[in-house]
Amino acid sequence: MRKLKEFLIEKLILFCGLASIFFVVLIFLFLLKEGLAVFKTVTPPQFLFGKSWYPISEPPHLGILPLILGSLMVTLGAALISIPIGVACAVYIAEVAPLKIKEILKSGIELLAAIPSVVLGFIGMVTLVPWIKSIFHLPTGLTALSGAVMLAFMAMPTIVSIAEDALYSVPKTYKEGALALGATHWQAIHRVILPAASSGIMAAVMLGIGRVIGETMAVMMITGNAAVIPHSILQPVRTLTATIAAEMGEAVVGSEHYFALFAVGIVLFVISFIVNVGADLFLHKKEQ
């Protein structure tokens, strides 16, 4: 009797162990199930590179190039801001900060990670957006730049904590060796520790960018949501994620618009899959 009970429990554990794989596959299948139907009306190249997104006009224009470019512009902007600052902050926490300040800084970063994105979006709307409007004398502060700054901020916890882990796991002897040869602390960081931690830092950057691409609420609230091909970072843009969040509520189930939004979901899923697998490869390279 007890043997049977244990047998059942162990099977249940195995079953739950496979749950993650099951859910990833399930998510992908259901996105495909609802999203692939859009390719009855448009071809994949038309969908990916079509220049206009008018999903409810007759006939609908379902080209997501403006959305891809919107996401790309915001993501690039956020990466340019967050990578140097985030890695610098990680180096400061891992190498320079005194022990007591280190703990405070770490909890500050954790705090930032805990703030819900809709709260950050709200704060962005009431602070950042008016600032950008007045600094650049724009008709509206809801621009790609506002989104990039906010997203850079939101990517920080990911970049800082993973990069700090990578720096921390560099063997102490490397640093001691460099110092013993007469290098200053900064020379040891710059020429020895950073290169040794480079694959972990790469993973940190990739995961940070992954976070940025997938971010939805804050970006929807402060980038202005204009689904046109952007020409400048001071224009409103609309990202892939914001498009789904803003339009799914109005899309009729089973319409072309509905299928197209799921197809946008497939694009996002594939991007996040590539980013995460890539980052995982970098992290495992470090282990070898």
Binding site: E6, L14, C16, G17, A19, S20, I21, V24, L26, F30, L31, I85, A88, C89, Y92, V96, A97, L105, S107, G108, L111, A114, I115, P116, V118, V119, L120, F122, I123, M125, M156, G182, A183, T184, H185, W186, Q187, I189, R191, G210, G214, T216, M217, M221, T241, I244, A245, M248, G249, V253, L261, F262, G265, L268, F269, S272, F273, V275, N276, A279
Partner: protein, 302 residues
């Protein structure tokens, strides 16, 4: 420093380093200043955000605000249905995610061998954690709302949030289980306990703090997310309280989104007040997790 002082011993690696930057001490100072400023650029805004929300939100927090339903198209009254809705959703998500997540962690820590399958599971967890939150919303819409015909309901929303926080719970529980020393298991097995008995009576009790911490962090994440509940449960405006798990509810994060972008002329006090309640809820959970972690760490016997 001029070049003549550097040339007398060119073979030394330290001097090679020196040659590239004229004054290493000055370079170090500049570099550290840059690192410090970068850190401030992250930490100071975090503090400012909290201060602004608390300062502007606190005057709006009254008993009536917390316990009343929204009135006059959400321009006055309270946010009670949204608070309650978020509590329902978060509880539902955890009821679903905790057993699966915990057992999944048990599998990885106690049963899995270091083979291809284990690698695949870990990769799946990483991917699950990285899927954009709005894609979870689409998935919930396709699977729970449409395919299972649950409609936009607490059930659909809670299940969607549950799958979203699964990786958080698995990762935290796994870490807790793996930190239990191997000798504990060996001692238990050598006394004749079976594998499951060892897990049940030795490993799990010793890992409980880490598991609780992970669960609370998952709760905090679920409470703050908006995108997954957009199409699966959240109601724009619903003054009455839900009667069953097949009803829609209002939820705090979505309510904040609605009153700050969709409804014009909402009093600033209400907007900041809502932001403060949401922030306080999430930060309280994170704080609780930290406190539990610290308290158990002190008690640890190994």
């Amino acid at each position: 420093m001029n070049d003549s002082t550097v040339t007398d011993c060119p073979a030394s690696p330290a001097l090679k380093l020196k040659k590239r930057s004229r004054d290493p001490v000055l370079t170090q100072r500049l570099a550290f200043a840059f690192l410090f400023v970068s850190t401030l650029l992250i930490i100071v805004p975090v503090g400012l955000i909290i201060v602004i929300i608390v300062q502007k939100g606190l005057p709006g927090i009254t008993w009536q605000f917390l316990s009343d339903i929204p009135r006059q198209g959400m321009r006055s009254g309270g946010i009670f249905p949204a608070i309650l809705g978020t509590i329902y959703l978060v509880s539902g998500a955890i009821v679903f995610a905790l057993p699966i997540g915990l057992l999944s962690a048990v599998y990885l820590s106690e049963y899995a061998r270091g083979n291809f399958l284990t690698r695949l599971i870990k990769l799946a967890i990483v991917n699950l954690a990285g899927v954009p939150s709005v894609v979870y919303g689409l998935f919930g819409l396709a699977l729970f709302v449409t395919f299972f015909k649950f409609g936009a309901s607490i059930l659909s929303g809670a299940l969607t949030l549950g799958i979203m926080i699964l990786p958080i719970i698995i990762t935290a529980s796994l870490e807790a289980l793996e930190s239990v020393p191997h000798s504990f298991r060996e001692a238990s097995r050598s006394l004749g306990a079976s594998r499951w008995q060892t897990i049940r009576y030795v490993v799990l009790p010793n890992a409980i703090s880490g598991i609780i911490t992970g669960t609370i962090l998952g709760l905090g994440r679920a409470a703050g997310e908006t995108a997954p509940i957009l199409f699966t449960v959240a109601a724009f405006y619903l003054p009455q309280l839900p009667g069953s798990i097949f009803d829609q509810v209002m939820a705090l994060p979505y309510h904040l989104y609605v009153i700050s972008t969709q409804v014009p002329n909402v009093d600033e006090k209400i907007r900041y007040g809502t932001a403060l309640v949401l922030l306080a809820m999430v930060l309280f959970m994170n704080l609780a997790a930290v406190v539990i972690r610290c308290r158990f760490r002190k008690k640890k016997k190994w």
